[in-house]
Amino acid sequence: MLERLVENWLDSASERSYQRCFCQMLTGQGFHIVHSTEHTPLEFGKDVIAVSPDGKLVGYQLKGHPDGTLKPRDFDSIRGQLEQLATLAVAIAGFEGRVPEECYLVTNGDIDEAVYHQIQLLNASLVQRGHPPGKIRTITRGQLLDWAQSLGLSLWPSEMQDFGNLVKLLNCSGDEMFPVQIFDPLLRNTLNFEGELKSAELSRRVTSAGVMTAVALHSFSRQRNHVAEITAWTMFATYSIAACEKNGIDYSKHCSEAVLSARDSIYDLLGLLCEEASERRVMFEGDPYSEFAFYRPRLLLISALMAVYWIWSQGSTWTRPHHKALVEKLIPQALPPRWLWGEGAIPSFLTYIWFRKMVAPSDGNDMIVAKVLAALLRNKLGDDGEPLASPYYDAEEVAQHQYRELLGCPDPFEGDSFEGHSYSCESLLMCLVRSDLKMVCQELWPDFTKIGHERVVPDQAWQFGLYRTGDAATNETKMYPPMMRWSELQEICQESMAIDVPAALKADPGLLLLFVNLFPFRATFSAVRFLHREFDEKTAV
């Protein structure tokens, strides 16, 4: 049954969506991916470049022929790219001047006999130009399915419930929020969080989870739902890191390749999101009659994701240099009114502010943080409207609560209350303390000490990367003393070890920043202090 699911997926996958799975399968075979991109002008026929376990530089040109055969007429347009792939040196740091020693034309369909003949002719002409015989080879549907079988499927959980969850994901229309609660058990079971793993087994399971992620995203990839794809690949990365840390396995040796490959996928998806958003005059999606409830949360999330894209790119290089200007134009200079839909919006807000501080440093940015903290404190003390929902509720649930009578749906907040306590006020105050805004903090202090400050601390750091920790975490409520010395508060705010965050996630602050934007309840005081140090202080222009 699972085999049929994978066949169905491969037979209808676009070149873009199976490329990510292909990279995961390469890393599962010990390859080191040095380049994986989706159609930049500089790729010169090389979709993927990897170093094989025996040190060879290998180039791959991926083509999508879902449910079909590569015919001679298709090959005419590919020939030039294949020649470039086989003959042009790569321009990748560390590999400058090297020409791939092996090249592959990869298709998720079959290849016509006549095309094989043309490839032989091309190889013969390459031999005449001094290249080794048989330089261009092929990987087709059958081989991809064999890889998926041996590297992925064999380790997928076989319980009926897991199978049902995978089917549920495949049956999604693809234009909705990614159902993380369905994907979570699939990843947990594939990575065997209930048991213990040795390093070799973990590596195999990580590859298997990578294949599963690509398959599970099928409906979302077809709809070009970039945010859903970013969410799933981020989960794959943080769950893989969690599995490594849980089992005490060397991350750099056994897992980092797969996570880096997922990170490349995320980076490309952020680029695609940038292009799509840039083409829109108004960033609406779906039914315009329900946009009043979702437009502002979406605008904030897109701004935050674009800020993450900008921060990642500035930290290395812009794969698509023209995107820098697009991103800077996309992110508004001021957030729209009523953007604060719940405490779940705070990580996106902070990401936005850190971006603004980098591109347009001004004291005004800190004052916006102060205004937001003041408003949130008033709200939590019951002086300003209904208390905002905790970060455990997303924008969709908040809308359901607000319009429950109209919608005739159950109240997602039933049994919960948000007055008098907050998950994010400590982090906002910390930003002001580190900016040395003592007078502003003194003004806010009385209200700040009246509410309980909530933190959820996982029992083990590896659990931080998961969607839910269950009982394996402690809820902490901290009430600050009415009177405190500024120096004491500074000391609390300066701490930034983030001991409850996995080491591999701390080593990649950009990924951590993305993770807390997608899973706002993980933007704990501890994590935000760490992120603030990384993005508000060090990199400030």
Binding site: K450, E476, M484, R485
Partner: protein, 153 residues
């Protein structure tokens, strides 16, 4: 769950499993009606509520410091005891100076006794003056506490 209070005191508590059962015997089935079935559900729900309430009160009892406790010593609730309670408790006020509503719970606070106490205060001007004085004192204490909410140094 861990709580770190403003006075620097801390307490931790673990999750406790509460459970209740509902039983329908085979012999009962022929005579069972919707009402009888619902009565069984109600019984189970009440049992859970009792357990949860008992659990919550037990935890509150463990955490309340002696300085905030009054021992009724077997007496029934009257105006004198109520004044003693108000004297002892730390009271909170709204920004307009009105006290937060006092929530009472337990066998001591029957509706009948509360009505009797209201009448005692209404009919005895001395008691009413003492009540006003206690509230005024508590309001001042609250104002002093609020004035201490400062970030200093």
């Amino acid at each position: 769950m861990r709580v770190a209070r403003a006075d620097q005191s801390q307490s931790s508590s673990a999750v406790q499993l509460l459970s209740s059962t509902m039983e329908i015997k085979f012999d009962e089935i022929p005579e069972l009606t919707l009402q009888k079935t619902m009565a069984k559900f109600d019984e189970m729900i009440l049992d859970m509520v009792r357990q949860q309430t008992g659990f919550a009160l037990e935890r509150i009892g463990e955490e309340i410091p002696d300085s905030q406790s009054v021992d009724a010593k077997g007496k029934t609730l009257d105006a004198e005891l109520m004044l003693q309670v108000l004297e002892t408790l730390q009271m909170e006020f709204h920004s307009d100076g009105q006290p937060h509503q006092l929530h009472v719970f337990g066998g001591l606070f029957t509706a009948e006794r509360q009505k009797a106490i209201d009448e005692q205060f209404q009919n005895d001007p001395d008691l009413q003056i003492r009540l006003d004085e206690v509230i005024a004192k508590k309001r001042e204490e609250w104002r002093a506490r609020e004035a201490c909410r400062k970030l200093v140094g």
